[in-house]
Symmetry: C2
């Protein structure tokens, strides 16, 4: 994983401390943080960071394709650094969201739907994460 600094530069975006802090956190974590979780984390190194800046930066990264946004956890938007196609598993107990690799699940029949031209899809699963 490239440094957040370089990633921002590659986008032609000024690498301000606020943007670096957002990018560092959200692109490295394997979790699926909400905007407020990002804000809370960014404030640890950048205490005056505002809500608007965090949202602006997240939306910027989404626009540029480095990040995906999904409305999953009870109607809140979560940001997902995994931009490859994948499915999602939501733990009923904890609310945690886990990525499921694309090829772990097979889906058939979407091309045969008469009424719908399917351009994208994903499987959203719910249940319990197994302990090992």
């Amino acid at each position: 994983m490239k440094a957040a600094l370089d990633l921002l530069r590659d986008l032609g975006v000024q690498p301000t401390p606020q943007r670096i802090a957002v990018a560092r956190f959200v692109l490295r974590t394997g979790r699926h943080p909400t905007a407020d979780e990002v804000l809370a984390h960014v404030r640890r190194t950048c205490p005056t960071a505002s809500r608007a800046t965090v949202y602006n930066t997240l939306n910027l990264l989404v626009d540029r394709g480095l990040l995906r946004v999904q409305v999953l956890r009870g109607g809140r938007a979560v940001y997902d650094a995994n931009t490859e196609r994948h499915h999602h598993f939501i733990d009923e107990r904890t609310g945690a969201i886990h990525d499921v690799p694309w090829h772990a699940v097979t889906v058939g029949g979407t091309a045969a739907l008469d009424d719908f031209e399917v351009r994208d899809y994903q499987v959203v699963m719910r249940g319990r994460k197994r302990k090992h």
Copy 2:
């Protein structure tokens, strides 16, 4: 489809005019209305109906299993009278949500996931509805 009045009685719930109006609309429409759409419709016959009552009644029907709630359309909850298992197709242009019959799409591999015990799942598709 039974009358809304009888459905409410079967649930052991007092069939007030407000509840009947909510149930009639939401259980009969094939669309996937948001709470505000339900409220707007209910007010046509029951102009003083309040937001709280609509939410209370919708949540009641969800608890009793007559209705499903999904967070789909841009983070808003939509209510779905189709409580059978089915998938969803979201039209990118209009935002309209369409039901896709369970057997129109096949999903495999969910049982073989090592880390997750999948209790329920659905395929969420996006694209364009075909015109006929």
